[in-house]
Amino acid sequence: MIASWPCPGPHGQSEEYAFAFDRGRMVRLLIVPALFDEANRTRRMLVDTMRLLDEAGVDSFLPDLPGCNESLQDFSAQSLHAWQRAMTQAARHFGATDVLAVRGGALVFPHTLPGLVLEPAKGGSILRQLLRARVISAREAGRQEDSAALLEAGRSEGLELAGWHCGASLIAGLESATAQIEGQRIVSQSELGGGGLWLRAEPAAAPEQSAALAQIVLAEIAT
């Protein structure tokens, strides 16, 4: 259930964590999580999907992005490029045959692998939402902040957004990033039924969505 993988970082190799079902089977699915808070909100749904895939004979791996969850790396040193390199390294280490990227994970997944992308998000939308959260919480605290000015500062000095200390390269990368989808099947939320869990104010399980996603993954990787 708990696996580790060697990941390149600014200070050399570091060990990173992955939640895994690995029984050495032929089909091995790498799951690239959503970015920022969306990763927490969708995690339970994805882990339940992994359990169902395990029962259906498919191995799956959900690695941490460096700087997130259990990672010892510094979040502020991360960039989309670093995350993409890390996910490519994780795919190689686990011998992934297929990939499932979720939301912002579509900006950093190893797109040479066949597989699926669930509701890909644009970097610009993710950044806009984080900036908006910062402006709203500043206003609650009685301070006036401006998205455009924050973004300008963030591009050169980095920026704290919703508790995440984003480096300048992450901010700059998010601004223009779009998913590079090369033949992977795009799964829309409507196929899972119910609302997207990344929208939820609080993380939650959604067994019906996990079951629907597992069925879609199985149908796709069998073909």
Partner: protein, 91 residues
């Protein structure tokens, strides 16, 4: 205009149902005075940002930073009236 207004109303209820994880029945019972930000502890600044971004996507409107204040999010009626105005401007 009543069609547009009811479309905006039902879209907003659907988004709140997704964000708050409430059943459609619970959200259907919201009226103009139902409190939002402040009354619903799960609506923190990150959730509000997600809510507004989703509203922009689904209603195809743009909400400016300076339009977002405590009053806008105080009640369901205030938020709906603001969005109906946005949708009408667009038409």
């Amino acid at each position: 205009m009543s069609d547009t207004e009811s479309d905006t109303d039902s879209t907003l209820r659907a988004i709140l149902s997704d964000v708050l994880g409430l059943s459609t029945d619970r959200v259907a019972a919201f009226d103009a005075s139902t409190g939002l930000f402040g009354d619903l502890p799960e609506l923190d600044s990150m959730a509000v940002a997600g809510l507004l971004t989703e509203i922009e996507d689904r209603l195809d409107v743009v909400i400016e930073d300076d339009e977002v204040d405590g009053e806008l999010l105080e009640s369901y009626g205030n938020l709906l009236a603001f969005l109906e105005g946005k949708v009408a401007e667009k038409a």
